[in-house]
């Protein structure tokens, strides 16, 4: 790789790459993020490679391995360019047929995505309802880029954002542009990014400022940042470069959790390539601007996603938060001014530069501009990553893009914002998604987790699950957060076991409020949210657990019994799988469950084909 010595050389490289690329040659695109690999993408890649070699098609058909495209429900998938043909859930045996069809310029009709409503096949990715409802400004790049090839990124106008910023020659213009775009932090709190940069740029002790990319994504069921890092690491690096130019920072740190090996691998490669091309390091693109980025791997503590704890962790100390003020932007890593932004925020910055602030602000709402990536999971038909404009309603995401409930059951609530977010009931699904509305409804935007729940989800159990997570992940420094989460879990456990009293509810609320009020950091202050929001919207479920000793969703084991109803045909399937031998009965006669032996594991219900197991 030859080092680029000027802004013009970068532009020339881009032009040359465009000229060399023949877009008419069909390309097989196989997404291979961590999620895709788990569902078998590696087999598809191997088979596709072998088939292309065997048929000597390397000249006529290209293959591109990319990061995740977002439609995780349909993984492993294959996309064929330039037509945009989308093949969902491709089995290994079908890969040959796809390669053959691509070589002939045909489409394999029976492997196409079938519209869930009409059953008709849909060929193009962009026509599938899941993709149609989204505005994919960030995620759309994932399918165009092989994350380990910097030229792929430059070809799709990558690094033209920093080019434009350097060309302007005025750092304050960069900050003003980000301010005009109205970009707000995508990590959850929604602090205006331009303002944060302005504060950093105007810090009095000016030398050795830090920029940090917070990639310590730890919410259960959320993986937006991972997909961006795996699929498009250069967008984050370019975002940080632009930020560094605007704020005068000289050191960059990407703090990524060690549980993301593929993201780390791609980042390491991307950083090396950017260095080799002269886009990182000293005298970038022949200018006087210098910036270095290093990678710090987190050891897996949830609390290290909190700014001050993250700084401690980068310094090599124990990851626990400390009092703000002084804010990180005044005194951060090693006492130097530090600005911390989320992965998604950084990935948005190049877009602002290349598209212009005005164009960027056109998406979304007035005070909530741009798009937001959510990881839509839970009891929804199309789980995956969705990128939508801010201000879209929850109902639209779940019903139109998500395809509605997965098992036909009635939807009950959606949990946003990770463990310290809250549950929003189905009757509020017309709520617009922006920072203020979600906070008002008792939840938070968070980094973008969205867990859909239906009538088979017990809200007490949900609150208990999150409290269990938080009592393990609280750093333990503040007494109220450490003991408070333990005690809340204890009370919720009592309620789910049928030992709860109405006094418990009162105590739970009082305790939750105290923890919210007195904890030091964001984690502690939001930790009671799962309890407070479920109490606010689903109090009757708590009361039913306490007064009637009944779990309406049939989840809390201590409060439910399994029995066999008259639909039983006596097939014996349940009897064979019961681990405790608690089911008896003659062939072709109705079976019975011995309640004394039953451990309520639910295995019988999962194998019964006749819906003959009743859970009450």
């Amino acid at each position: 790789m030859r080092m680029l010595r000027s802004i013009d050389e970068l532009r020339a490289l881009h032009d040359r790459l465009i000229a060399d690329h023949d877009a008419s040659i069909p390309t097989i695109v196989i997404p291979a993020g961590t999620c895709c690999q788990a569902s078998g993408a590696n087999d598809l890649i191997r088979l596709a490679k072998r088939e292309l070699l065997r048929r000597k098609l390397l000249e006529n058909v290209h293959l591109r391995i990319t990061g995740c495209h977002g439609f995780c429900e349909m993984e492993p998938s294959v996309l064929v360019e330039p037509r945009g043909t989308f093949y969902p859930k491709v089995a290994a045996k079908d890969m040959f047929r796809i390669v053959e069809a691509v070589a002939r310029g045909e489409v394999v009709e029976d492997l196409l995505f079938a519209d869930p409503r009409s059953g008709k096949p849909i060929e193009r990715e962009t026509d599938i309802p899941f993709f149609k409802g989204q505005v994919r400004t960030i995620l759309s790049q994932n399918e165009k880029i092989d994350p380990i090839r910097i030229y792929d990124y430059i070809e799709v106008r990558g690094y033209s954002g920093i080019n434009k910023a350097l060309n302007q020659g005025d750092p304050s213009w960069v900050i003003e542009e980000v301010k005009r775009a109205g970009l707000r932090g995508r990590g959850g709190a929604g602090f205006p990014t331009g303002l944060k940069w302005d504060l950093l740029a105007t810090q009095p002790n000016g030398t050795g400022k830090f920029l940090v990319c917070n990639a310590d994504e730890g919410d259960p069921g959320a993986y937006m940042n991972r997909s961006v890092l795996e699929g498009n690491p250069h967008s984050v690096i370019e975002g940080m470069l632009i930020g560094a130019y605007g704020t005068g920072a000289t050191e960059g740190v990407i703090y990524v959790r060690n549980e993301y090996p593929l993201a780390i691998k791609h980042l390491v490669i991307a950083l090396r390539q950017a260095h080799e091309l002269g886009l990182l390091g000293e005298r970038i693109l022949g200018t006087t601007f210098s910036f270095h980025i290093r990678l710090v791997r987190g050891a897996g503590a949830f609390v290290c996603g909190e700014e001050t704890a993250l700084i401690r962790s980068i310094e090599g100390k124990m990851g626990e938060p400390y009092q703000r003020p002084p804010f990180p932007v005044q005194k951060g890593i090693h006492g130097k001014p530090t600005a911390i932004n989320n992965v998604e925020t950084w990935a948005n910055v190049p877009l602002i530069m290349t598209r212009g602030a005005k164009e960027f602000a056109r998406i979304g709402e007035k005070k909530n501009t741009g798009t937001k990536i959510f990881s839509l999971v839970g009891k929804v038909r199309n789980s995956g990553l969705v990128e939508v404009p801010m201000g879209i309603t929850i109902g639209k995401i779940i019903n139109d893009i998500g395809g509605g409930p997965a098992e036909g059951a009635r939807l009950k609530a959606v949990q946003t914002g990770g463990p310290s977010g809250g549950c929003i009931p189905a009757k509020k699904f017309d709520l617009a998604i922006d920072y203020e509305s979600l906070t008002k409804a008792g939840s938070i935007m968070g980094s973008g987790g969205m867990i859909v729940m239906d009538e088979n989800t017990c809200m007490v159990d949900v609150a208990k699950y999150f409290m269990n997570f938080l009592k393990d992940e609280s750093c333990g420094k503040c007494f109220v957060c450490r003991k408070g989460t333990q005690r809340m879990y204890e009370i919720l456990d009592d309620i789910s076991q049928g030992r709860g009293t109405l006094g418990h509810l009162e105590l739970l609320e009082e305790l939750a409020q105290a923890v919210k009020d007195t904890a030091m950091c964001g984690l502690g202050q939001t930790a009671p949210n799962p309890v407070l929001s479920t109490l606010r919207y689903f109090r009757d479920e708590y009361v039913e657990h306490i007064e009637k000793k009944r779990c309406p969703a049939g989840v809390c084991r201590a409060l439910i019994t399994f029995s066999i109803n008259e639909k039983c045909t006596g097939c014996g399937a349940c009897m064979r799988v019961c681990p405790e031998g608690a089911i008896f009965g003659e062939k072709k006669e109705r079976h019975v469950i011995d309640p004394a032996k039953c451990v309520k594991c639910g295995t019988c219900k999962s194998v019964c084909k006749f819906d003959a197991i009743t859970v009450k």
């Binding site: 503590a301 609390v303 124990m318 990851g319 626990e320 400390y322 009092q323 003020p325 002084p326 009592k471 393990d472 992940e473 609280s474 750093c475 333990g476 420094k477 503040c478 007494f479 109220v480 450490r482 003991k483 408070g484 989460t485 333990q486 005690r487 204890e490 006094g503 105590l507 009082e510 305790l511 105290a514 009020d517 007195t518 904890a519 030091m520």
Partner: protein
């Protein structure tokens, strides 16, 4: 100098003063457990919370760690503060009922019951001992490890630390577990509290339970067995 208002009274303090120091200077009592003069503020026990700000932006912060700011309005005993403090004390009482210090504070705040399941823990993890060891004794023999419910204080690998001088400073500052032996296994002993006890531990009742198991005991120099 920075001027702030505490409970309606103006006070001017030097830059770098904490809200707690400013309030105590005016004579407003704020209870603390994890705070000690001469040790850096930590903000672990949260008992010293005070209310700052106005209207919907009013919030509680720990006064021991919050720096005095120009024009700050502080309330040290609003109903929100007292409510939160009482809940913290109830939690403390539920975990460490034996501590005289906690009992006294609870009594002073009119707490007559605690509604949680009773526990009998010795340590509230306020970290005074850790800071004492590091900042005053320059030893760093003990520290925190683990997080959440697994957090605890001890020496690395739970063996007696080479840098521990058995000074007993950690026990001396402990607000919860006064005059208690930290470990009952000699190889894990981290304190020399028995040396500073009066009367020495040998003369106390419940010899086997209370004695520190260091061998030989630094107080009486009698080898066990």
């Amino acid at each position: 100098m920075i001027t702030l208002t505490i409970n309606g009274l103006n006070v001017s303090v030097e830059e770098g003063t904490t809200v707690l120091e400013a309030a105590r200077f005016l004579g407003f009592p704020i209870p603390t457990l994890c705070h000690k003069e001469g040790l850096s503020p930590y903000g672990a026990c949260r008992l010293c919370v005070v209310e700052i700000g106005q209207g919907p932006k009013a919030r509680l912060v720990s006064s021991c760690t919050y720096p005095a700011e120009e024009g700050l309005s502080v309330r040290t005993a609003s109903s929100r503060v007292i409510g939160a403090r009482r809940m913290i004390l109830e939690l403390l009482l539920a975990s460490c009922p034996q501590s005289k210090g906690i009992q006294d504070l609870a009594a002073a705040h009119g707490i007559h019951r605690q509604r949680f399941k009773q526990e009998h823990e010795d340590c509230i993890l306020c970290g005074l001992c850790v800071r004492m060891c590091e900042e005053q004794m320059m030893a760093k023999a003990i520290g925190f490890r683990g997080r959440g419910e697994n957090r605890s204080i001890g020496t690395p690998f739970d063996i007696r630390s080479d840098v521990c001088r058995l000074c007993g400073g950690c026990i001396y500052v402990c607000p919860a577990c006064q005059l208690r032996c930290t470990y009952n296994e000699p190889e894990k002993a981290i304190c020399g509290a028995c040396a500073n006890l009066s009367p020495p531990c040998l003369e106390k009742e419940g010899f086997d339970d209370q004695l520190c198991y260091m061998d030989p005991c630094v107080a009486c120099e009698i080898g066990k067995d």
